[in-house]
Symmetry: C2
């Protein structure tokens, strides 16, 4: 009897060990044997924790020659980067800062996992951005705004006493791709995060993350002085308020000496801010910057502002912030969403990039797929990130890409930064969809080196996460590379945007309307479908948002004939009969694009199913299941949008296209219960 | 104000007039103008109501030359058929019976609607069956068992006082295609139908139908004597019982002198019957036949019997009835479902056809689509009907088709008959799906002339019901002709059968099982999926049902290598790896067939949508909507069956096939609320 119990227990353990739940992310190196370890040495010259960690990772997983880790404070040009070089005796990693050695160690392990040639190595890596940051939109009650991978990782109730092992796993994963900053809480911030009770919890996390080179930041509520401590107001010109912030910042830095700073959403979507007291964004940001400056802390001040006025929502950030250019402290960075509306499947870049010549700006991407099928759809985001980063603003002439504007090349800054809204939750596999891990990975890799190609990142990630077999890699790289365009096709092709279902933003609702609701939250505000055509006229005859772009973009975007077709309906209200470059009318092209999206997802299913033998059964089945949902959703999107827009175009869907299988009236009745999402 | 009311009223009327709700069926001739009518004469020589009706139809709709209607009692060889001939003065319709003239008149009007050349006509039409009968499975409470076009047409509560105009419309439609018999009530019969209160209601209907040559029949409950009048039992050897039936029959014929007879479901699925008293089907049928014989009434005794024994359900009718061959009265006809199980998408013919050499047999088809997608799926049934009628039983050597066995050619009979379970309800368009009208039409036409091709019937029906434009006809005939095979493909290809969801028989439920339920009501009883293969072994190594067929069919069906592939899984348990004629394995072929079904329905959608300009908007939209449901259902079927059978085959679905978009476990949870169906 005893024997049997033992046997069962053993089986269970072995099952748990072999279960491929995705929890290991891309960190799947195998521990080396004592025999292999005995053949090489990992040499360090420091007792620092970070260097010790670098050594420990190599001791455990590095199967190559000996490695020496050297910190040389003179190597300032490397920033927190590193060099790796080979000689007869083995490899040497050099860095100007200790953390550089950890990054170098992960680089080596990545090369090993990728099966790269490790004989002759001569690598120099200098990160493109100083601050490579995740924004967690996690609430203190454990929910996550726009989170689709379960509840928050941060167990605020258990902290600081109970420390989940996942905190260190999280930090290790981030360090392995160079992420060095994390904002723990939602930009719609609870004032409570600054309460002393919470700061000791934050400290507990910061103490763990520090070992991995990660600084903690917090989102703050601008009304915190009034709410937390009963000040009369939170007016930035109020000396008491200023004193309150100074004192609070001091309290934080006493607990967390390497605290990063504040992320602020102010006077946006109902959040309090300096405008409540007749002050400007600059007044508010500078007050916080002054409090943080003695500690080298930063203020990330978000440009995501818009009001329900008559002015085109896409223009408002520019209109509010441009007059303030030059008024911000040097430790303030304006955090600007990649597109001027809101993380849509496709947007042009926000025209603020490059336009603010005397103010630091940074890009905010959304890694979590609020507008891209949550954690149900396989959408690889590197191409979306790259599309913004590589966009030429023409601010300083041709070649003034968003990347060069924000990475310090064209606009030297106190600190450069880049942020991604995290897609991480407490799900076993961290991100809900196994392939959403790739978006976390890609954000980190691009924050380090925005010149990396999307293909290269996909290949790296696939090799580490799944297998390096070519029969698997080739089709899967292709799938990942086309997946974002597929989503654009079946959701919002040709520059359509924000025709999502109200609030949850999962499915289609181009017909969406709410009595008395804000127009700029209604799909009709964005698509403007009528019997004449479709799209938002942002040309000179319309909102003239094109004028916010530097020449020649204002002209290119502003002219129906030169506007890129993938942004056509963003910038123009286009007649249904408008001839596209391929000879289709706009209506026909819209139909073909939606259908192409559906067919692309069908193809993804075929490819994935055909690769079953290359993937463990657990992840195979999970991804297969998600792709089925994606296929259903793609058909849903196509049918909803085409049947709805057809009520305006009054034209048949081209007959060679797969026909709708839904009734518009039935689709209008769908109400998803999304309460578990925020 | 008054003006406006009038105006609105006018608009409403004109809307109602132009509304194409399908209520006109295939009878869409336009009333001729007085001018046209004046140019020709309709000449009759009889004051009979039926002849008057024939004349009236021609007066109203015939736009050709003069027509003379002649009854010649000597023309017995025509039965209730007719000739139509042309001469210089016009056309002549001759018939041996008055009703023949009405049929002839409808024939002329059909030719006119089809746009046929009417100059030189020489037609002789003799019906293949004497009794061309609809079976209504209508309950006295207005519900219809397996009815999908609304409640029953028969308003029992209002009868006999209130006469719906639809009774005459129904009769006219039937007469126009030669149907001359109708069983008003469900074979699962309420004894109440024989109550005197109900018989006066039946008489009211019979009085209307008589004008159109239609005789009324009733389904009877075998326990009626006991239940209605408290007899000790309903034992056919009980003289009191025999007297009761004689008296009841007399009562009926007093009210309805041309009453047709009884349809009986006895000792089947819980219905009472002679076996309850140790008597045989012959004892029961003969008792009724003796009562009816003085009035020339008929007994249709159903062979649809099976018990939850160990014996293969498909064999049981044969086993029960063969020993009784020769024991039935000549006015008894054994009514046999086309297939040995139950109106499946595809079955072989029932082996009783031809086997009973001294007993009259007739085919029972199901026009209502219990197993073919209800009134949601476009499935043209003429090919299914023809498949049975043209099946060679080899009973009297090669060429002994079911048609020839039942139409009197090979087995002279007192009366020949054919029945179809009606798909008619109170829906505006009669049959729920506009294209289900074609199945009513096709049954009538084949009951008259089983040599007609399915294409010809489809063309006739389309021309009359929609349009005679060739651009419409060609693709629609093709769609109709392939529609039944498409349904077989996406529901139950290769001879699979009865894997429907429990009770309602709409969707797939191959996994279906009920604790303690009858095995022969469970899908696993029929598909026998296991790790070895799929299908029901009815060969000599299995239930040996093949032995019930005449040589060489027993051999052909019994051998895996010669068995027609479209019946393979009906007759054999086939290994998953069995090589099909095209080189696929059985599993692969199963997958391709399911997929083919889905793609066929997608193609139907494309074709229909492309014909929008040829169809009125109301019927266009209605059919388009039904095709969307059919497409969704086809995918549902395919996914459910392939994902379920895959748990046994353990093999991938071929990768070039469109992938499933559902999860098996989700599909298992689907419970349709089918309470409005019976």
């Amino acid at each position: 009897m005893n024997k049997m119990v033992i046997c069962c227990a053993f089986l269970m353990v072995s099952f748990l060990v072999s279960a491929e739940d995705g929890s290991k992310l891309w960190l799947r190196g195998k521990a080396v044997s004592a025999e292999v370890a005995a053949k090489r040495q990992i040499v360090i010259h420091s007792e620092s924790i970070v260097v010790g960690l670098a050594s420990k990772e190599l001791e455990q997983y590095w199967a190559g020659s000996s490695v020496e880790l050297i910190v040389d404070k003179k190597l300032k040009k490397l920033k927190d980067g590193y060099t790796i070089s080979s000689s007869g005796r083995g490899l040497t990693i050099c860095a100007g800062e200790e953390i550089g050695l950890l990054y170098g160690a992960y680089h080596l392990l990545r090369l090993q996992q990728e099966g790269k040639d490790l004989q002759r190595i001569a690598i120099e890596e200098i990160p493109d951005y100083d601050v490579r940051m995740l924004n967690h939109w996690d609430n203190l009650d454990g929910s996550i705004e726009r989170g689709y991978a379960g509840q928050s990782l941060w167990k605020w109730e258990d902290l600081p006493r109970t420390i989940s092992p996942r905190y260190a796993q999280y930090a290790r994963a981030n360090a392995s791709i160079g992420i060095n900053a994390t904002v723990l809480n939602n930009v719609n911030a609870s004032p409570q995060i600054l309460h002393s009770d919470y700061l000791v919890k934050v400290k507990a996390l910061a103490d763990i993350f520090r070992k991995y080179g990660i600084r903690v930041y917090l989102s703050i509520n601008f009304s915190s002085p009034k709410i937390l401590d009963g000040l009369e107001n939170s007016d930035p010109s109020n000396k008491e308020v200023q004193r309150w912030w100074k004192s609070k910042v001091k309290e934080i830095y006493t607990l967390i000496p390497d605290f990063g700073g504040f992320l602020v959403k102010a006077n946006s979507e109902g959040q309090p801010g300096p405008q409540d007291y007749g002050r400007t964004h600059a007044d508010g940001a500078n007050m916080l910057a002054d409090a943080l400056k003695p500690y080298n802390g930063l203020v990330m001040w978000r440009a995501f502002v818009y009001s329900p006025t008559k002015e085109d929502r896409a223009k408002q950030a520019y209109l509010e912030f441009m007059p303030l250019d030059g008024q911000f402290r040097d430790n303030v960075i304006i955090q600007i969403k990649n597109g001027p509306v809101d993380f849509q499947p496709r947007e042009p870049f926000t025209p603020l990039f490059g336009a603010m010549r005397q103010t630091a700006g940074m890009v905010e991407f959304q890694i979590t797929q609020e507008y891209l099928g949550f954690s149900n759809h396989l959408v690889y985001l590197a191409p979306l990130f790259k599309e913004t980063l590589d966009s030429d603003t023409y601010a300083d002439g041709s070649g003034s890409t968003v990347a060069k504007i924000t990475d310090g090349t064209l606009r030297p800054a106190y600190k450069t930064a880049i942020a991604g809204v995290a897609n991480i939750g407490e799900d076993e596999n961290w991100t809900g969809h196994h392939f959403a891990q790739a978006n976390w990975y890609a954000f980190g890799r691009l924050a380090w080196n925005h010149a990396l190609s999307s293909e290269q990142i996909a290949e790296e990630w696939l090799k580490q996460t799944f297998t390096d077999e070519q029969q698997f890699l080739k089709p899967m790289i292709h799938m990942m590379m086309t997946s974002r365009e597929a989503a654009v096709n079946y959701m919002m092709p040709l520059g359509l945007h924000h025709i999502f279902a109200f609030d949850h933003h999962y499915g289609p609702e181009p017909w969406g309307d709410r009595q008395g609701g804000r127009p700029d939250w209604m799909p009709w505000y964005y698509h403007n479908a009528n019997s004449a055509g479709l799209g938002f006229d942002r040309s000179a005859t319309g909102s003239n948002a094109v004028s916010q772009y530097f020449p020649p973009l204002d002209r290119i975007y502003g002219d129906l004939e030169t506007c890129p077709e993938n942004l056509l309906l963003w910038f123009h209200q286009v007649p249904w009969s408008h001839k596209m470059k391929n000879g289709h009318t706009m209506w026909e092209e819209l139909c073909y694009k939606y259908d192409e999206g559906v067919q692309q997802v069908r193809q993804f299913q075929k490819v994935w199913d055909g690769l079953e033998s290359h993937v463990d059964s657990q992840r195979f089945a999970a991804v297969q299941s998600k792709l089925r949902i994606q296929a259903q959703d793609a058909i849903w999107w196509k049918d909803a949008c085409l049947l709805y827009f057809q009520t305006f175009s009054k034209q048949p869907i081209p007959y060679d296209i797969e026909r709708p299988i839904h009734e518009l009236e039935d689709l209008k009745k769908i109400k998803l219960n999304m309460s578990y999402h925020n």
